[in-house]
């Protein structure tokens, strides 16, 4: 077990180093590049030379990369071109918002997806199944930013159930402890802030949950159908076990293994979706940061750090998922 963990961690490090090198070299060889981005309209040949020198871009690429990595391991990703703030600070300000949104979306996707997938499998070929499958196909075919606008239009303009954008009603005071607003409210006993944050969270979370939900429903359905056909389920039925016991202990425990893997793989889809969802609802997380870093002149240091962070999150989540496998499924441990 330990050997597997160590091996995966080593692979993670190699992946991240390779990725950072790729992005680094790529960024510095672009037409335009960071120097142009920094200078913008005010670029003159003299200024260009000066800045290139000041940033160290006149040195060999390997030396530059070495220096970059030296700073990165001490947690220094440079400063944002747009605001001048340290990149780590800019990102850590936005990160909790996205994590809160992604977690809420995942709770919806898993909480609805597994029961729906199970029911679809049990009603295989009949209308509840067909309806669910049609729903999942629609879910993966709809551009999620369009869905966001649609939900926003219906639930904030026509019926005023939810607020149209942001994470909190303006003017409402909340104490920032963790950056997760719902949690902060609970920690500081400002329950109204917590409720308000939750109220703002619902529509964006539903929007972001669409694709993972569709995928989880389909995997659960397929996986349950596989398990239903197994001999041990028939044996359990023949033994006259209670339906609930068969469902919990025999069907779901086995059927959920591929679903767990899928949940890990959906991290990527969540991060992609967050960029779109956050723009629709003006959320102010990593997604908004990406959009701003692109539209307000290309903010390379920020983008570079976000890409590395996204890859790190994806790989770590999937590592955790794989490790959790060993605990859920005794067979993996034995081998």
């Amino acid at each position: 077990m330990l050997r597997v963990i160590v091996r995966r961690l080593l692979q993670l490090v190699v992946t991240l180093i390779a990725l950072s090198a790729l992005i680094f070299i790529w960024l510095r060889n672009l037409p335009g590049g960071p120097v142009e981005a920094l200078l913008g309209e005010r670029a003159t040949p003299e200024r260009r030379v000066l800045l290139t020198k000041a940033l160290g871009y006149d040195q060999p690429i390997l030396v530059q990369y070495g220096k970059f990595m030296q700073r990165v391991v001490t947690g220094d990703f440079g400063n944002s071109i747009r605001t001048g703030d340290p990149v780590t600070e800019v990102i850590s300000r936005a990160f909790p918002a996205t994590i809160e949104l992604a977690l809420a979306a995942m709770i919806i996707a898993v909480g609805l997806g597994i029961p729906l997938g199970y029911l679809a499998a049990r009603w295989r070929g009949r209308w509840p199944d067909n309806l669910t499958i049609a729903g999942t196909l629609l879910g993966i075919s709809i551009p999620i930013f369009f869905l966001g606008y649609l939900l926003k239009d219906v639930f904030t303009q026509n019926i005023h159930w939810f607020p149209p954008s942001g994470r909190l009603t303006t003017g409402l005071d909340n104490t920032n402890v963790t950056g997760f607003f719902v949690l902060d409210g609970l920690l500081t006993r400002e329950f109204d802030a917590s409720a308000d944050a939750l109220w703002h969270l619902i529509l964006p979370a539903i929007t972001l949950a669409t694709i993972p939900l569709a995928v989880i429903v389909r995997i659960t359905r397929a996986s349950v159908l596989d398990v239903l056909n197994e001999d041990y389920v028939r044996t359990a039925e023949a033994k006259g076990l209670r339906h609930r016991t068969i469902r919990g202990r025999h069907i779901l425990r086995n059927a959920l293994l591929p679903v767990v893997t899928t949940i890990g793989l959906q991290t990527g889809a969540l991060l992609s979706g967050a960029v779109l969802t956050e723009k629709v609802y003006n959320w102010g997380g990593i997604g908004t940061l990406i959009t701003d870093s692109i539209s307000g002149g290309r903010d390379y240091p920020v983008l570079q750090a976000i890409i590395l962070l996204a890859a790190l999150v994806f790989v770590v989540v999937n590592l955790l998922v794989d490790l959790s496998y060993a605990f859920i499924d005794p067979r993996v441990r034995v081998r």
Binding site: S141, N229, T267, G273, V321
Partner: protein, 342 residues
Amino acid sequence: MSDPIIQAGTPTPRSGDEKPRPGMSERSIGVLGDRKKARLDELARASASDRGGISLVRDAVRRLRRNPVAIVGAAIVGLFVLVAIFAPLIAPHDPVQRFDELTKNLTVDSIPGGSSEFPLGSDPLGRDFLSRMIHGARQTLFVGVVATLIGLALGVLIGAIAGAFGGWVDVVLMRLTDVMLALPSLLLAITLVAMASRSSQWTVIFAVAIVSVPIFARLLRGSMLAQRESDHVLAARALGVKERNIVLRHMLPNSLTAVIVQATLTFAVAILDAAALSFLGLGDPDINRAEWGLMLGVDGQRYFEVRPELAYYPALAIIVVALGFTLLGEAMREAIDPKNRR
């Protein structure tokens, strides 16, 4: 890849999809009586359709033609392609011409709706919206097809080299695709476009294409590796066929089916991703270009409050076409699965 934990984490294609589920469609659920009945049906079908020696492809086509899902998917795709090809004949007006009748009624908060001459009304620049929708099929098909083909070509190249050579070449190439798969696909596409000096239709196509490369590469490589051990490759080798010909004539053609099916699914993802890039302001800057993703992502977004139809129609078109390709792709995937052969 001998260790089950690693295998469990092998990424699957991003198209929002599960792994192919062999034999799913013909199975029954857990009630005993049902299963017996299904088993009998299965035997009946198997004996009825016992036609030895039929090729996998022909068998798959035969099964596709009986599958209503495949027919619906194919019909949507077919109609879409026809509209795209004959767009200039179908469209009532020139998609880029600005009509005085329309522009004179344009204000900041009102865009003319439908009339007898312009059934879907105007776009924000006084052009015929219906004609733009029809020509949109053409541009959307172009973006989707070219992006898919570029992704396919690069992916097949990488996958084939990895699968054919094996060893350290395989390890290096697969690590590279792993790195790409570790990035959220849209984020990778965004970065690619953002890093180009200025965006154009080609940066969008290229970005959307690159995202699909690792998926194609992994798929083809897996299939090639399986072929290496198979009997027909062994037979070819025993007959003294040159290694190069074994790869090109025996392994590659037999591995392509799965890749082609994936391409169908990739098309849907490509047009959705292109729309997303437009929405983020990274799309094609050409204001004359009528492409659904662009129409939805730019005008549809900007004028959603004024005239939501500008978003509804392109969105509906994208949804239907994406759905069509997905249905067709999934039906094909089910059909080529040898475990479904009866």
